[in-house]
Symmetry: C2
């Protein structure tokens, strides 16, 4: 397959590697660029779903509302990823709400076209099964972490996923991808818990934090502390590609 004119936002999506040439070529003409301001909703949970989206700039928060009005954060998804595609398997409704965490940009594409491609191209169905199986394993690990890791270890794990884990000797600088309140809620913590846990992590591993910049002089020390209660080996295959 060669997609000489495939736009960058399209060629970066792993799922679409199973797609037919004809499908890939048909997408740009059906795409629309959307800009969202910080705090703007893209869709609500249970809304009828007509589009799936590829994020081209910024981060989007996926969440559900609980009966008592709090938000359960499902994920915070960066540029280069796709959202909303699983609506196909949820009776054509979005299985969560999506809100811009900052000014951002997305490409919208029709779900009906994706559905047809999955139904008629076995390679595409297999590609989607592969990405869903990978996601399933990541979710299992997330459940495991919420149970077995303490709060400082969960922050350590979050930081390790943002760096090249094989470079254990040199000091590394990590820029938090979004603000600390959001990092806390992504990790399922109250802001106060996050703050206390970050102090503990600094004391245990020697990392320093200045605003949104974290400096780690000893990645090995950070991983030894954070990964002891995790079932994945280090550097972790499961997370390395995710960066989220």
């Amino acid at each position: 397959m060669s997609h000489k004119e495939t736009p960058d936002w399209l060629s970066r999506i792993p799922l679409l590697r199973g797609a037919s040439d004809a499908f890939i070529k048909s997408l740009p003409a059906q795409s629309h660029t959307r800009n969202l301001s910080k705090g703007q909703m893209l869709f609500l949970s249970d809304d009828p779903a007509e589009y799936f989206f590829i994020i081209t700039k910024g981060w989007i928060k996926l969440f559900r509302e609980t009966l008592d009005g709090s938000q359960a954060i499902i994920d915070i998804v960066p540029a280069g990823h796709m959202i909303g595609e699983t609506s196909i398997f949820h009776e054509g409704r979005y299985p969560f709400s999506a809100e811009a965490t900052e000014n951002m940009q997305l490409i919208s594409l029709p779900l009906s076209a994706l559905k047809t491609e999955i139904e008629t191209n076995p390679q595409m169905a297999l590609a989607m099964l592969g990405t869903m199986a990978q996601h399933r394993k990541q979710q299992e690990q997330e459940i495991e972490h919420r149970t077995l890791q303490n709060a400082p270890q969960r922050i350590g794990c979050f930081l390790l996923r943002l760096i090249d884990q094989t470079k254990t000797d040199a000091p590394v600088t990590i820029n938090l991808p979004y603000d600390k309140v959001l990092v806390a809620s992504r990790l399922g913590m109250q802001p106060e818990t996050f703050s206390r846990a970050l102090s503990k992590l600094k004391a245990e591993t020697g990392i320093t934090v200045k605003g949104a910049t974290v400096t780690c002089n000893n990645v090995h020390k950070l991983s030894t502390y954070s990964c002891i209660t995790c079932s994945s080996e280090f550097p972790c295959r499961d997370m390395a590609s995710g960066k989220r």
Copy 2:
């Protein structure tokens, strides 16, 4: 499709509703019955996977081992369910370990046959995508619960999944499907935490517990208490079919 001679263990698997007649008919001849004693391992995480399994009697524990030697429980799966089929998408290796929680029986079936059916029959690939999407939503809810529900609410949620949630007037009797230590670890709790949380749940909702039997005189009260921090509506569509 008519599967007059389809054994009961085969016809109960939702995933196989997308399978071709020829595939379904070919399975019994390729199947083997296996009996496991309590505590016996079926396979280890990362073992090369040749078979998938349908549980016909008992419960099986799926877990991973962490670096410090503790177990991260992924699920405890009852009779009538399939395990190991996602190995197809994990380079032919089991993505977790499986251990019998009691004396149990399974049917083993060759993964290669399932793989071929998924690759050649689009209906089967779609059926598998559907079940994986459903599972994904359940996992998201599990992550949400570990964060937002307190321990008594998590036990309440576990109990509610074992009963007909629409019968809110009459008293119901619930038999715990496996022993309390295992229920605790399935819910990600230490036994002591579980014990304290169960006492709190009794006080809050009026349930009574005698050995493995739980009596609930007021399902409405149990659900009001347990489900307030959950994003699913009650009776909950997401869990109703699971019974696990």
